[in-house]
């Protein structure tokens, strides 16, 4: 998949004025995110929770794609986190926030093991290999009813414990409250993912993507770094899985099937993967289209059809994704502003 040139140029701090602008932008963003749930209906609040979880899912997916490898197993890895966290809480009575963390670690460990067979392959073969590995995991969930509950999956998963300190009580069964919980966890996760990408580790990931032989020749252990990207991406996918499991209360093998994976791919491709915010833009825009426009028109059963059409249209007309829309618009406005001036100059 073609991507424009982006190389993280180290951690060079911008100018003080630029930094203030960025801080203001973030303050504004968080203000909007804080007000948002109160403007939504109950069912829309529930969708907002899932959207926040999906932002983490697709952002963690992007970290893996930095090394140039596209996996079809990312949603299954999310499921590993969901199943692990659910079982730990249900069977072993592990308190929920900790079970989520351990679930993330289990997802990461699964990735670490899978990387041995999978990173013998590259490109298309890796894609297919990751799909096969994911299907094997899904078959294990279906086959072994004892811990995993078979095709019906796990039900009545422990909810996130309520906070009750007398004067402050937060009930996480309420979508608004879970929304804020997910928002905090996802924000921290995104910050970590961003820091990784901007560090030398991110530079090395990019280097492996563009010239793995050259990277190897100057001492980059490309297998180790591909594994590292896969493990980190899987950890955060697992966290997203834990957030999902303890919110919805049930998990089953179908929920983590390949059709869900296709949605993640569509979000990433429509949004664009060259920038950190591209996939996030993709998942937000497509969720809004899906939940507001399609549901409003009563077309939500046609979701796969319309997603397919959007994917084709964006590949044809916006190959660099929604993220390229901003810069394009800016360039177009500049040309328009300059246009009449140069025309006047010629006339004079």
């Amino acid at each position: 998949m073609p991507e424009p040139a982006v190389a993280p140029s180290g951690s060079r701090a911008g100018s003080p004025a630029g930094r203030i602008v960025w801080r203001l932008r973030f303050a504004l963003l968080f203000a909007v995110l804080a007000v948002l749930p109160y403007l939504l209906s109950y069912s829309q609040q529930e969708i907002a929770v899932l959207l926040v979880i999906n932002v983490l899912l697709v952002s963690s997916y992007r970290l893996l794609t930095l090394t140039g490898e596209w996996s079809l197993g990312h949603v299954v890895i999310m499921g590993v986190g969901a199943y692990a966290s659910a079982l730990l809480a249900k069977r072993l009575g592990v308190p929920v926030p900790f079970s989520m963390l351990i679930g993330g670690c289990m997802a990461a460990a699964t990735a670490a093991i899978l990387s041995f067979p999978l990173f013998r392959m590259k490109g298309f073969y890796f894609l297919i290999g990751s799909f096969a590995a994911g299907e094997i995991i899904r078959l294990i969930w279906k086959r072994f009813t004892d811990p995993f509950g078979g095709p019906k999956g796990l039900k009545r998963i422990d909810a996130f414990p309520n906070i009750d300190t007398g004067f402050l009580s937060i009930d996480f069964y309420e979508p608004v409250n879970y929304y804020f919980l997910a928002l905090i966890i996802v924000s921290i996760s995104l910050f970590i993912l961003y820091r990784i990408e901007r560090s030398r580790i991110g530079l090395t990931f990019h280097a492996i993507h563009w010239q793995d032989r050259l990277a190897e020749s100057i001492g980059v252990d490309t297998f180790r770094y591909r594994t590292l990207a896969f493990v980190i991406a899987s950890f955060f996918a697992g966290i997203a899985g834990g957030l999902y499991a303890h919110y919805v209360g049930t998990v089953n093998p179908t929920r983590f099937g390949v059709d869900q994976m296709v949605y993640v791919l569509v979000w990433a491709i429509v949004g664009g993967t060259a920038t950190f915010h591209g996939p996030i833009l993709g998942v937000i825009v497509l969720t809004v289209i899906n939940e507001i426009v399609l549901r409003g028109l009563g077309l939500d059963t046609a979701r796969p059809l319309i997603y397919g059409a959007i994917l084709i249209l964006s590949v044809l007309y916006l190959p660099d994704g929604l993220e390229s829309l901003g810069p394009k618009l800016r360039a177009w406005l500049q040309r328009r502003r300059r246009g009449p001036a140069t025309a006047g100059g010629e006339a004079a």
């Binding site: 563009w210 190897e216 100057i218």
Partner: protein, 274 residues
């Protein structure tokens, strides 16, 4: 060619191949090939097209494992080790053509080259406490650029660089990894005479800085002027080894390059058929 056990140290080769063989299916690309590179030398590896030079390079640098035989580095058997592990030991190669991180800036290319020098833990990368080692990596990356006269272009995207500069940058990336032995794969290809002359001077300066250089090259004049010792390969095996003057006048070498010494174009064809 191999020295017996109790040889004095200064003559001990830094890089050595013993009976190196590499097959691809039925094709024997490298056939029982041996050579030794002495520390501090500029060692040329030449031969007609298809002689197995590039395969030899790929085996030495760990991209292929040898089918049989050994590669020794400072007396240690390194055959079949990963390329990145060899780089860590000080054995670094360059590539033909403009194999670079084309999407990066010039400086970022060399910063990646500092991979081994700029070590830091995962957490310190995350927290930004690797700033010290990164600043050092930045400084030595700029030093490597300055060595090749590319410091003015540090912030340019690589794709804007002319071919000659891209070749220089490829060397700068390799040099940033602080090699003890530098393997250059056709460093002068596609360069004009002026660029070739500059590059030759730079290779000498690299050697004078304590780096052993081994190179594969087609530009005969450059090889003859630059190398201390030349190994000639033909059909995957050793043909001749010696100083440039010996190699230049060796009838076997002339025959390998130009065909049978007795004939012209027709004789060449006959020689191939025989």
């Amino acid at each position: 060619m191999n020295a017996p056990g109790g040889q004095p140290i200064p003559d001990a080769p830094i890089l050595e191949a013993r009976g190196l063989t590499r097959r691809f299916g039925g094709l024997v690309a490298v056939d029982d090939f041996s050579f030794a590179v002495r520390e501090g030398a500029i060692h040329g590896l030449i031969g007609p097209n298809g002689a197995g030079k590039t395969t030899t390079f790929n085996v030495i640098s760990g991209f292929y494992a040898p089918t049989s035989g050994q590669v020794l580095y400072r007396g240690r058997d390194i055959s079949g080790r990963k390329t990145s592990a060899l780089a860590e030991m000080g054995l670094v190669r360059t590539f033909q053509g403009s194999t670079l991180f084309q999407e990066f800036s010039v400086l970022d290319n060399v910063r990646v080259g500092r991979h081994l020098g700029a070590r830091a833990g995962f957490l310190s990368r995350l927290l930004g406490t690797d700033r010290g080692s990164e600043a050092q990596a930045d400084a030595s990356a700029r030093e490597a650029l300055a060595f090749f006269g590319l410091e003015e272009l540090a912030d340019e995207p690589v794709s804007n660089l002319p071919h000659g500069h891209q070749r220089m940058l490829g060397m700068a990336v390799a040099l940033a990894a602080e090699p003890e032995v530098l393997l250059l794969d056709e460093p002068f290809t596609g360069m004009n005479p002026e660029e070739t002359r500059r590059m030759m001077a730079l290779v000498r300066r690299i050697r004078d800085g304590g780096v052993t250089v081994m190179l594969v090259e087609h530009d005969m004049q450059a090889v003859m002027n630059l190398c201390d010792i030349i190994t000639v390969m033909n059909f995957g095996a050793l043909l001749v080894e010696g100083a440039p003057d010996e190699v230049r006048n060796d009838p076997a070498v002339i025959e390998a390059y130009l065909g049978s010494a007795t004939g012209n174009g027709a004789g060449n064809g006959a020689g191939d058929a025989a």
